[in-house]
Every structure is written in structure tokens, then in C-alpha cells.
């Protein structure tokens, strides 16, 4: 299988249903044996009313696609799914879903971990939170860059 045929990468401009996405992905890759996924959702219960992610059309989705192809080139995956929201989200809403199907589960674990580290700190999204009615932009964290350095 070539990388081009097996990566599904989407920038979601409206809420998506991670359970439905995962069910469809797992069914498509019933020959793989194992599916690892990461679901990131807006944290509830911390006083954050809303979270907004902004993207830049010419760069954001192409960057996600390059990331998917890099992961597929590096590990033996039967399939890779990346869905990332942009826009304003409420607490509990999904932000990002990454899933990898592989014959050997270690490949799937590492590929999802890799994709998440890169989505968090090396993809074209800008994030702000609304706390008590006030929006504030989130600066990149040192921890994110340390995560990224693991793969260099």
C-alpha cells in the first residue's frame, strides 16, 4: 500500500464525532489487528468557557498531510487518520483525533505519539481560550518543544 492511498487527513471546521470516525477507521482496517488512537478534547471544569483554534489555509492542511506522510514513511502502518478541528469549541468538544492501524501495535503507538507531538508544536494552529469572558492567546510551551525534540 502506498502512503498516498492510506492517509486520511482532514481539517474539520465544525464539530466531529470521534467515536464514529474511529469505528469507520477500525472497520476499514479490519486486517490490521490493532488500532491506536489519541483523542484530544477541550478540558472541562477549569473555568475555560471556550477554546478557539485558528488556521491558515495555505499552510495548515498541507502541513498536516506532510506530517501524515512522514509518519507513514517511518513506520509500517496499514492506515492513518488525522482529524483536527479549527474554530471555536466548547468544553468537552473534540479538538483532535489521530488513529493509526498497524499489524504490529508498537508501530501504531509510536506513529500516533509522533503525530501528536508534531500537531501540538509544529503545525499551523493558533490557540486562544476564553476564561471569564476574556479571550487570551496561548503561547507555545517549552514542554511542547521538548516533546518534539524526541523525534529529531
Amino acid at each position: 500500500m502506498s502512503a498516498a492511498t492510506t492517509a486520511q487527513v482532514r481539517l474539520a471546521l465544525a464539530p466531529f464525532d470521534p467515536a464514529a470516525e474511529l469505528a469507520a477507521f477500525a472497520a476499514t482496517h479490519a486486517d490490521a489487528g490493532g488500532v491506536v488512537s489519541f483523542l484530544g478534547q477541550v478540558r472541562a471544569g477549569e473555568g475555560v468557557d471556550a477554546l478557539e483554534l485558528r488556521h491558515f489555509v495555505p499552510l495548515t492542511l498541507p502541513g498536516m498531510e506532510r506530517l501524515a506522510h512522514a509518519a507513514q514513511a517511518r513506520w509500517a502502518l496499514a492506515g492513518l487518520l488525522i482529524v483536527h478541528r479549527s474554530g471555536v469549541m466548547a468544553p468537552g468538544e473534540p479538538i483532535v483525533l489521530v488513529a493509526a492501524a498497524a499489524r504490529h501495535r508498537r508501530d501504531a503507538f509510536v506513529a500516533v505519539d509522533y503525530a501528536m507531538d508534531h500537531l501540538k508544536s509544529d503545525s499551523w494552529f493558533w490557540k486562544r481560550e476564553r476564561v471569564g469572558g476574556e479571550w487570551r492567546w496561548i503561547e507555545p510551551r517549552a514542554e511542547d518543544h521538548a516533546d518534539l525534540a524526541r523525534w529529531a
Binding site: 483554534l53 485558528r54 489555509v57 483536527h84 501528536m116 503545525s123 494552529f125 493558533w126 492567546w137 510551551r141
Partner: protein, 80 residues
């Protein structure tokens, strides 16, 4: 016309997501920035700000804008 796009927190500094203005002849980026409020120009010129000209990443050094260009200012990302 040239269009300047301000991503992330730069939109707050600029007070708008984009600014458009006429440009009769090609102008160096430094000269274009001189036309902006000093606070904004300073924010746009920071060492961590990346640039995309007509959707493609480009270096600031020696950059010249011509009529029809769209230049995006991209602060550090904090996504996902």
C-alpha cells in the same frame, strides 16, 4: 493593493485580521512596515514571526512586495 494578514495574537495587536492598501510600485517590506503604527510594526518584525507570501513561507530579508501580493505574519504556533 497589497494585503497583510495577521494570525494569532497579531490580530489583536493590529486590531484587525487583515489590512489592505494600494501600492503603486514594488516596495521593500521594511518600507511597508513604516506605514503601520509603530507598535504593530514592532510586533510584526519580531524574530519569532514567520512570513508567508501568497501562501508560501518566505524569509523576511530582502523581501519586496508588489501589487496583488498577500503577506501573512505568523506568530509561534500553539495548536492541538
Amino acid at each position: 493593493m497589497v494585503k497583510l494578514l495577521f494570525l494569532g495574537r497579531l490580530e489583536d495587536v493590529a486590531g484587525a485580521a487583515e489590512l489592505s492598501f494600494p501600492l503603486r510600485e514594488p516596495a521593500a517590506l521594511a518600507d511597508v512596515l513604516l506605514m503601520l503604527p509603530p507598535v504593530l510594526a514592532e510586533a510584526l518584525f519580531g524574530p519569532k514571526i514567520k512570513l508567508a507570501l501568497n501562501g508560501a513561507l518566505i524569509r523576511a530579508e530582502g523581501l519586496t512586495l508588489t501589487d496583488g501580493d498577500e503577506l501573512a505574519f505568523l506568530p509561534p504556533v500553539s495548536g492541538g
